[in-house]
């Protein structure tokens, strides 16, 4: 065993975040504040066989009997994240129309790996920081946060993750209603 279990990134999942309070929390509602448009993205291997890939430990014919704590598993993605693109599917503003790349309007808060104390990192920086990271779970998770206050009533985005094996994972957010607290 190399000290970690490799896994393939084959799937992408997205959830809406409510970021009105002190921390962003997952929400099932498709309503957000225009100043707090945020998503949770998870990249993972679709099959449930990641842990089965652990190699058995050699015991040289002896039947050992030991008491152990539950083992800590460490994981490493077999693919690197080359880029993350965000494309707006509806008009982002009066000047930025649908199907425009708005990646520069978004920042990342890494969850797994937890490589930032509090502040966000840019998308290119996130891609660099995730390289060769040993993970505590067989997935890469992050929050994608819009740093602008949107001026229109709706928003919808397509998230495209480019991997080092040439694969692109893509997922669309729900159509969001943007409402203010007033």
């Amino acid at each position: 065993m190399d000290g970690y279990i490799g896994f393939d990134i084959t799937h992408i999942q997205i959830q809406n975040l409510s970021n009105t309070g002190s921390d962003a929390v997952v929400t099932t509602e498709n309503t957000m504040l225009p100043s707090a448009v945020a998503f949770k993205v998870r990249l993972y291997e679709g099959s449930n066989s990641v842990r089965l890939r652990m190699q058995p430990q050699t015991n040289f014919g002896f039947s050992s009997c030991v008491a152990l704590s539950p083992p800590d598993f460490y994981y490493k993605s077999n693919q690197l994240i080359q880029n993350i693109r965000v494309v707006t599917l509806v008009d982002y503003s009066t000047s930025i129309v649908a199907n425009t790349d708005v990646s520069d309007k978004f920042l990342v808060y890494p969850i797994v790996p937890a490589i930032s104390d509090f502040l966000y990192v840019s998308i290119p920086e996130f891609c660099t920081l995730t390289t060769d990271q040993i993970l505590m779970s067989p997935s890469i998770e992050f929050h994608l946060m819009c740093k602008e206050t949107l001026s229109l009533n709706n928003a919808q985005f397509r998230i495209i993750v480019e991997l080092s094996n040439g694969q692109e994972l893509s997922i669309d957010t729900a159509l969001l209603d943007l409402v203010t607290n007033d």
Binding site: N19, S22, S35, A36, L107, L119, V121, S122, K147
Partner: protein
């Protein structure tokens, strides 16, 4: 350091007896006293501008204390005094030491050191409207910094009947060490996050500190010993400001805004008095 000081005080009594036999002439007399008192500090508050004025958030412990004081009259004209307070947290953070040289019966020269705990109200400093504020490692928030005083001055002993005492006129430098504090802030109803740092350099201020000690001898059990009541009081005054550098990182660590903040000086006035019992031997 605290253990050392307590040990020094507790050593004064046996040391006197031990060394009085082996180093005859070095220890002429010793005095130990226990007392209770109150120390208060008043810091002038000023309406600050949009920039936080750290002087408004600096605070000393203003409370009742119990104390112990050891005063050793060394060979010839030298005296040494060390004193500590036990505060309501059962800590001996306040420490005072003084070396006195008496070239003349009526006047002496002193060198003094004091360490007094001070605290910044960090939650109030960092708290900002429109932001949720978190101070990481908040256990450290209530760690007291040490305001150290380096003093020099004159001592004027007096005596009349059963009363005796000393007036000290001292002045010197009040030192506040450097400090660093940061908070994480997340804006209400927004994705905006920021990291706010306060980098406080060490600072010095001039201080004056007159002091008086009055003793009233009640009884004289033997020719070499006496017991009585004691009053100690002191007042100090200084003017200082606390400049600092504030860094605000908004969204990412790349987006840094640095400002050097300075405010006019504000006064600090302290009164400290105690009464207790002394034993001279």
């Amino acid at each position: 350091m605290k253990r050392l000081l307590i040990a020094l005080i507790l050593t004064c009594i046996p040391a006197h007896y031990v060394f009085s036999y082996t180093l005859t002439g070095w220890f002429e007399e010793s005095k130990i006293s226990v007392f209770g008192g109150v120390a208060t500090h008043h810091i002038e508050k000023r309406n600050s501008t949009e920039d936080v004025n750290l002087m408004n958030y600096l605070s000393y412990r203003n409370e009742f204390y119990l104390g112990v004081d050891a005063h050793v009259y060394l060979h010839e004209q030298w005296q040494f005094n060390i004193k500590t307070y036990l505060n309501s947290s059962l800590r001996t953070d306040d420490v005072f030491a003084k070396l006195i040289y008496m070239p003349h019966e009526k006047i002496g020269v002193t060198l003094g050191y004091a360490s007094i705990p001070v605290q910044y109200g960090l939650y109030e400093i960092h708290e900002q409207p429109q932001y949720y504020t978190t101070i990481p490692n908040s256990d450290d928030v209530y760690d007291f910094a040490k305001n150290e005083l380096f003093l020099a001055g004159l001592a004027f002993p007096f005596e009349g009947g059963k009363f005796s005492g000393t007036i000290y006129l001292q002045g010197g430098v009040s030192y506040l060490p450097n400090d660093f504090s940061f908070s994480w802030q997340k804006k209400y109803d927004s994705n905006e996050r920021r990291l706010v740092e306060y980098d406080i350099p060490e600072s010095y201020a001039f201080i004056i500190q007159p002091e008086v000690e009055i003793r009233w001898e009640i009884a004289k059990p033997t020719t070499d010993t006496s017991i009585g009541l004691q009053f100690q009081g002191k007042w100090n005054y200084s003017k200082r400001n606390i400049d600092y550098t504030r860094n605000i990182y908004t969204w990412t660590t790349d987006n840094k805004q640095t400002e050097i903040i300075s405010h006019p000086k504000q006064s600090i006035e302290g009164v400290d008095w105690n009464v207790g019992l002394f034993y001279i031997f």
